[in-house]
């Protein structure tokens, strides 16, 4: 187990650094093992958006926190691609530029992992291969409007 934990850790850390730099267009992030104790030590996380001096994760903004967490999720999916993944409004705090970067990375990962993405964000919807609309009827029952075609004209 030790080989596989350390080997996995180093791969996830490497991918986390990569996805963080891609999503933030620079900056630096990393995972470290507390007290260099590979058997029991916890995993610490550092994130520095480009140019800034962030002294603690709590200083990151709402959008920066979401983007950092997404970079870590994508790193884990890169190392061990789950067959499918459901993301419920993970892009809610992101501004338009960051949504575009999020979706670009998603499309790359989608060659190996199937994604079901719940979103209100137009830019995310536009990049989907299929779209399902959920409606709540007068009778308070949910129904699915199957709109498989992605060329739905998005009213905005």
């Amino acid at each position: 187990i030790r080989v596989s934990f350390r080997a996995t850790f180093e791969k996830v850390d490497e991918q986390f650094r990569h996805y963080f730099k891609t999503m933030f267009r620079g900056g630096h992030a990393q995972l470290t093992i507390a007290d260099d104790d590979w058997d029991q030590g916890g995993v610490e996380l550092e994130a520095q958006p480009p140019g800034k001096r962030v002294e603690a994760l709590s200083m990151l903004s709402g959008g920066e926190r979401a983007l950092t967490a997404i970079a870590l999720l994508f790193a884990v999916l890169e190392v061990n691609p789950a067959p499918f993944c459901v993301l419920d409004e993970v892009d809610a705090a992101l501004d338009e530029a960051n949504v575009t970067r999020f979706v670009a990375a998603l499309k790359e990962l989608a060659t190996r992992t199937q994604f079901v993405v719940i979103t209100h964000n137009r830019r995310t919807i536009e990049q989907a291969d299929a779209i399902y609309g959920i409606t709540m009827g007068e009778d308070s029952v949910s129904r699915v409007l199957s709109v498989r075609l992605a060329e739905l004209d998005l009213a905005e």
């Binding site: 995993v43 926190r65 067959p83 409606t135 007068e138 009778d139 029952v141």
Partner: protein, 165 residues
């Protein structure tokens, strides 16, 4: 392995049988507030073996059953069934197609199925745990939970990486 279909009936706001077919790639799910989108996420986590009421946004597990509305009576049972293409034998089963289902009745009785054979909850959990798809895995991220990984204590983050190993 990939997901082919999700069938929901009597689970939360999906009183009528609802089928969602999933293609490879990215499937977007959209709709107004309160329409039932997150109930689909909860249903996915539930069929994969989630047993925590808090994660299901309920106090007792029978509360996942359609509670009725002004125009419809409560349901007697909730069922979620997912169909998976297993041609790559990702799931250690000799089937090219696998379907997994979970039911709960008003009286609290639960039933679990793999390819229509009745199994225990533990069998489903072990089936998916292999590749990081356990009920509380990173692969199903509930609403508002994306930042959760930043709030975890270092030991908890270690458990996440161990799940991946």
């Amino acid at each position: 392995m990939h997901l082919k279909q999700i069938e929901i009936q009597g689970y939360k706001s999906f009183a009528s049988k609802t089928v969602v077919e999933i293609d490879p790639g990215i499937t977007a799910v959209v709709g107004p507030n309160g329409s039932g989108k997150s109930n689909i996420t909860d249903g996915m986590r539930w069929v994969l073996g989630e047993h925590s009421g808090k994660a299901m946004r309920t106090r007792r597990l029978e509360e996942v059953i359609f509670a009725g509305s002004d125009q419809r009576p409560p349901a007697g049972m909730a069922e979620v069934r997912i169909t998976l293409n297993n041609e790559d034998s990702w799931l250690p089963l000799d089937f090219t197609e696998v379907n997994v289902a979970r039911r709960v009745h008003r009286n609290g009785d639960s039933e679990f199925f793999i390819n229509n054979n009745r199994v225990r909850l533990r069998d489903i959990q072990e089936l998916f745990l292999r590749g990081g798809l356990g009920p509380s895995s990173y692969a199903i991220l509930g609403q508002g939970l994306v930042e959760e990984v930043l709030r975890l204590r270092p030991e908890e983050r270690r458990a996440l990486i161990e799940e991946v190993a």
